[in-house]
Structure formats: structure tokens, C-alpha cells
Symmetry: C2
């Protein structure tokens, strides 16, 4: 057993960040999970995450965890909530700050992970049993995502730099699980004034080519209405 050389006058909890990483692929909302190779919950699927280093900002910690698991940087990342039930981890008191991230499908290259254990994308409504209170965290992240589609431009964070309006609508339909009217959707999307035509078109399949759009400010997420 290693030496316990960090000592305090009062007991301190451990602090972790856990990441709820969403993407859209194959017309489905998917979630990144890792297979735990250590106790507790060894062999279970869990959210990627890890301990906050002692001199590391918590947001940086989340960014680091995300990059370690997925290799991506500079994507949308937002603090979700902090979970601190005393019994949520059987080892010691662990308080976790949950974040959620939105990854454009183009950026997925599911790196073989730093550890040898499995990392995989799961369809949101076919999740396996999750370790700790992670099912609860995922639930709340999904709720937040659904809510934010309605009052922000967050959905565009799932898209590559250039995209068609149909692709935007697909994002909404997949996450909200409802069909939308094409004309109304386009009117609404253009009225946001968050996107502009690139001037280019994308030709694919035997049908009319689609105009390409881009975000005017790619990293900005506006709160609307």
C-alpha cells in the first residue's frame, strides 16, 4: 500500500469530474461510456471522469478528461451539477462535478483510450446498467440538453463547420424525438441570425443539391427568446 502522505486537520472528500459526452451518429443520440477496469463496479460501464488534480481548475479538469477519452478539444462543455451523496462511492467520500459535452460527429475518432479497457458509444435509450449514480447524472444531462434545444443555439454544436438545414433539423428531431415541419423549421432557424450561407452547395445522391451554412460565430451559443 502506498504511503498516505497528504494530511489534513479535518477529513476531506475526494473530488472528481464526470463527463456526459453526447454525439449524434447514424441518426441517433449517443453517449460515451467506459468499461471500468478497477473496483468498485469493475467491469461495469460508467461515465468517463477522474480526480481533480490539486492545482487544476475544475473546468480544465473536465477538458482534460474529455481529451483523454476522445482526443477532442475545443468542443462545447458545460457544468451540469454536483453530486455529493455520502454513499455514492463505496470507497471513500467522493463528490463529483458533472459536465456534459457535445461532440460533432466529424470529430469522433474514439481513441483506443489510455487504458486498455473498452470505450464505446451507446444509443441513449439502450444504455447498459451504469456504475455509481451515473444513470441519474445521464438522465439530468439529457433533460438539460432537451431544454437547451428550445432556448439556445446549442444544437449547432453537434454539427461540423459546414452543414445543411436538413442536418440541423435532423438534430432536433433526433433529440426531441418528434417530427417537425420543414418550412417552419427553416424559417425559425434562419430568423436566429446565427448562421449564414457559405455560398457552396453539397451534391450527394440523385437529388437537388443542398445549400451549405456555417455558424457566424462557431463557438458562441446564444440564449434565444
Amino acid at each position: 500500500m502506498p504511503a498516505k502522505k497528504y494530511c489534513y486537520e479535518y477529513p476531506h472528500p475526494a473530488v472528481t469530474t464526470d463527463m456526459v459526452v453526447f454525439t449524434i451518429r447514424d441518426q441517433e443520440l449517443k453517449l460515451l461510456l467506459i468499461k471500468r477496469k478497477l473496483q468498485p463496479f469493475k467491469g461495469s460501464w460508467a461515465l468517463p471522469g477522474g480526480f481533480v488534480a490539486i492545482a487544476e481548475d475544475i473546468h480544465q479538469c473536465a477538458e482534460r478528461e474529455l481529451e483523454e477519452e476522445t482526443g477532442v478539444r475545443g468542443v462545447y462543455l458545460e457544468q451540469l451539477c454536483t453530486y455529493g451523496h455520502p454513499e455514492r462511492d463505496p470507497r471513500e467520500r467522493v463528490i463529483t462535478i458533472a459536465y456534459y459535452a457535445l461532440i460533432p460527429s466529424e470529430k469522433i475518432k474514439i481513441r483506443a483510450a489510455t487504458d486498455a479497457t473498452a470505450v464505446d458509444w451507446f444509443v441513449m435509450d439502450e444504455l447498459p446498467e451504469l456504475a455509481f449514480d451515473h444513470a441519474n447524472i445521464v438522465e439530468q444531462a439529457k433533460q438539460r440538453l432537451v431544454a437547451k434545444l428550445d432556448y439556445s443555439t446549442i444544437a449547432f454544436q453537434f454539427l461540423p463547420r459546414e452543414f445543411t438545414l436538413t442536418e440541423v433539423q435532423d438534430i432536433y428531431e433526433i433529440i426531441l424525438e418528434e417530427k417537425m415541419d420543414k418550412r417552419n423549421f427553416r424559417k425559425w432557424a434562419l430568423a436566429l441570425e446565427s448562421i449564414e450561407e457559405t455560398g457552396e452547395e453539397r451534391r450527394e445522391g440523385r437529388h437537388r443539391p443542398a445549400k451549405l451554412y456555417r455558424l457566424i460565430d462557431p463557438s458562441r451559443v446564444d440564449i434565444i427568446k
Copy 2:
């Protein structure tokens, strides 16, 4: 110096909860602050808060801190955000989970506090310089409160068990800092179906008595529209 007898293999941050406690009094939005009697920031005003006990749920911790400072229980309390910049506390690494609470003015009896230092209510836009990153936390709590007035019934949590419609409107006008139309406001408030007439009236001053209302479910905060 006391013994440092709680030891870990890796360094652990300290974890606190800080409370942003709002109330409405004298037709103003006010915030509860305490005067620090210890270093760092000795003598500065700060948010009430304290360390999370090792076997204590974080929400319980917030409730406990709130009761210690104000003597109130069972009021609206919601997690705001977690702040963990490595340098936010000069002593050691401290991560704080901020909560905000809404106190009905009737319940204020600003207990003389467990410690001998000052505790006081400040008008929101006449705040003193605050310790740590507390000014930032307060700012975000205010933003959350303003946002929630629009899409939830949170405002009623400032009111006593029975209240008049004018009192409800006052809450909105004070926090949003804008006048509203009386007829439209009442139409809207009644359409929520969150409140009902008590059948009683309140007579005060030389004018027509006001009907009293109550929340149908006093502890429920609905998300609207």
C-alpha cells in the same frame, strides 16, 4: 497547531457550500452577508457557508448552513454552480458548491448568529466588496433568479402562506426592475393555476380590501411554458 490526522494517498481539496440568500424586504431585493471574523478576508463581507462534513450530503450541508445563519428551514433551496479555481482561496485548495435560497420576508428574524460577528441584509445593488469570488457567485445567482421568474413559479417562494396579487406583482417588479400592467399580470398569474383564493380578505388602510390567495401546493415550483 492541531494534529493533521486525516491522511490520503493523494492530495484532496477542501469542499464547502456557500449560500446566496435572497429575500424581499422594504420593497427591495436583499442579500444576506456575514462579516468574516477569521483570515483570510478577515473583516470583509462574504456569503455564509462552511465546510461539508465528511458524512453529510451536500444539499443537507447547504440546509444546515442556512439554518445556522437564518434560523429558517424548509425554504426554497437550489444548487447554483460549483466554483473551483485553484486560487480562489489563499489558504488551501477549496472547491465550493454554491446554492441559492429564497426566504419569505415573514420568516426573517436574522438570528444573532452562532459567532459574534455581524450578519446583515444588503440591498442587491449596494453590496460591499465581497471576499473570495463571492461577487461572481452573487452575480450568477441573480441571473438565475431573474431567468427563473420568467419560466417558473419560483417568485411565490418569497411570499408568506397567504398573499395578495399585488404582492406577487411587487416581487416581479422589484426583481425585474420594470413596471408591469396590472390587468395583464393578474390574468397571467391566475392562468398558472398554481394559486387559489383563500376566501379571506386583507383590510389595511383606507381602501378596498384585497383578496388573499395561497399556493395550491406550497412547496412546488412549476416550470411554465
